[in-house]
């Protein structure tokens, strides 16, 4: 494509300001909606993942376990290759934590003549160990070790949570596809509308002897540029909205592990690239349909 075609495309855009603005805005709006959904989906997934990472197995130890015996337990758990981290929590530490957690009502504990809490091991799981079965398997193994009194993990809760998580992923995927197809149709249709409204002009250009490329190149450049600008404006608008609103959403207490993030740069670029490609494809089909080229 020559520089002249690019120059003519720019002149065309200036000459058809209104049409171009309308189409760029339409494209940016649909990209905005699609990206907003993706943004929500990414963060919701992060959030749920964070929660799942919080799943721990707690092994309560029998009374009076020596340090050597404890080390044997830790080694045994480590050989299973499922534990990310194993933390020893002494009964004293547990007591202190409990006192802190109940705060004002800590006087309730004053009536106890001795610490009722056992020593324990807190086992956080490796990233790969997330399924219900994996966790159950590990928990059973740990409870079979000598000197382990009891094993605790959020069994029922985890079960239900996994269901919700999977449902969320599936519906999210389906919705994203629907949004994607809708965006695709909107962009392609906008380009089509522009072509349709310009078919007379294009007919005139052909009557004065323009060949196919003379007609086509600027149209392609325009369509791709519209896709590009629409995509960039959509994403940037979403980014601004994100930056302006997110600091206001406080993520404290139970949610402190979670930090909202924007759509990754690579993903954003992919969205813009998609938008450009759809512009190109929309142009291709409109040219075939309306211009019979």
């Amino acid at each position: 494509m020559s520089m002249l075609a690019a120059k003519r495309a720019l002149t065309d855009i200036v000459n058809n300001k209104f049409l171009n603005i309308v189409s760029i805005l339409t494209i940016s709006l649909s990209v905005f909606i699609l990206s907003a959904f993706i943004l929500f989906f990414i963060n919701a997934t992060d959030f749920l993942d964070g929660w799942r990472k919080g799943v721990r197995i707690i092994a309560y130890m029998a009374d009076g376990v020596s340090e050597e015996q404890r080390q044997v337990m830790v080694d045994a758990i480590q050989t299973s290759d499922a534990a990310e981290d194993i933390k020893f929590v002494s009964k004293e530490e547990a007591y202190k934590e409990l006192k802190q957690n109940i705060g004002e009502q800590s006087s309730l504990l004053d009536g106890l003549d001795k610490n009722p809490l056992p020593d324990s091991l807190e086992i956080t799981l490796k990233d790969g160990v997330r399924s219900q079965e994996d966790i159950e398997k590990l928990a059973n193994r740990i409870s079979g070790l000598p000197n382990v009194d009891d094993v605790e993990y959020a069994q029922k809760w985890l079960h239900r949570f996994n269901g919700v998580y999977n449902l969320f992923k599936v519906t999210g995927g389906v919705l994203a596809s629907i949004f994607f197809i809708a965006t695709l149709l909107i962009i392609a249709n906008t380009i089509r509308m522009i072509m349709f409204s310009r078919r007379e002009e294009i007919e005139i250009i052909r009557i004065v002897g323009a060949d196919e490329n003379f007609v086509k190149y600027p149209l392609y450049i325009e369509a791709v540029l519209q896709g590009f600008l629409g995509g960039v404006i959509g994403i940037v608008t979403l980014f601004l909205a994100f930056v302006l609103t997110v600091p206001g959403l406080s993520m404290e207490g139970a949610f402190s592990f979670f930090e909202m993030r924007f759509i990754p740069v690579k993903f954003s670029l992919a969205i813009v690239l998609c938008s450009m490609m759809i512009g190109w494809i929309g142009c291709y089909f409109s040219i075939r349909k309306f211009l019979k080229l």
Partner: protein, 238 residues
């Protein structure tokens, strides 16, 4: 491209018919137009005048027969070559066919861009064409603000700027007042005077009477036989 033996004939139609479905717009038309002739094509509405013009610039393809333009046999032409053929013509329409979003200047410059004229040369050539039709002072305006007569002058400028061999005009004065009409007619005659072949389809009896062109009369898609007879009497047989 199949190139015919060159003589003084620039447009040759041999047994040309054009059908739209069952409707025969042109029937078995045979005629020749010589280089630098000024030709009026006239006849009642629906006679096939516009159809004939369209066949010449390949806006439509003949159903039957042969058309040879400037030595190029249209039947043998490929789709890709149509644009090259069209560059031999400047075409003027009753409804102007200016691009409303392009300025007067850009509308005229378009032809030169299509012809691949160097960008530097476009500006002076466009301005010269606009001066010739007397509308250079409106170069920066968009067509919708111009009067009908002014629009048609822009269309004439567009038709002449590429210095085509042939100008085709379909009812160029059909929607103009008499003054504007005679101005356009005068511009066509000036183009003719510089060596261009001019073919005008028109109802405008005044224009036909005052001009010194050859008259081809179509009736229901046929050449008027009386006309042909008179032509032969006058010794104009090719």
């Amino acid at each position: 491209m199949f190139v015919m033996h060159k003589d003084n004939t620039i447009i040759r139609m041999f047994r040309v018919s054009k059908r739209y479905g069952k409707m025969e717009a042109l029937s078995d038309l045979t005629l020749e137009i010589r280089n630098n002739e000024f030709v009026f094509i006239t006849g009642p509405s629906g006679a096939g005048k516009s159809t004939m013009i369209k066949l010449l610039y390949m806006g439509e393809i003949a159903s039957e027969g042969a058309i040879i333009i400037d030595g190029v046999y249209m039947e043998r032409i490929t789709r890709k070559q149509i644009p090259h053929l069209r560059r031999k013509f400047g075409v003027i329409f009753q409804d102007f066919k200016l691009i409303p979003t392009k300025t007067v200047f850009q509308n005229v410059a378009l032809v030169l861009e299509v012809l691949g004229v160097k960008p530097k040369e476009i500006q002076p050539r466009v301005m010269e064409a606009l001066e010739r039709v007397g509308i250079d002072d409106r170069a920066g305006e968009l067509p919708p603000v111009l009067s009908g007569g002014e629009k048609q002058r822009v269309a004439v400028a567009r038709a002449i700027v590429g210095e085509p061999k042939i100008i085709l005009a379909d009812e160029p004065t059909g929607s103009l007042d008499p003054d504007s009409a005679s101005h356009i007619f005068q511009l066509l005659q000036e183009a003719h005077a510089t060596g261009t072949t001019v073919v005008v389809a028109t109802h405008d009896q005044h224009m036909i009477n005052t001009g010194h062109g050859r008259v081809i009369r179509l009736v229901k898609g046929h050449l008027n036989p009386d006309d042909e007879a008179r032509r032969i009497e006058r010794g104009m047989d090719p």
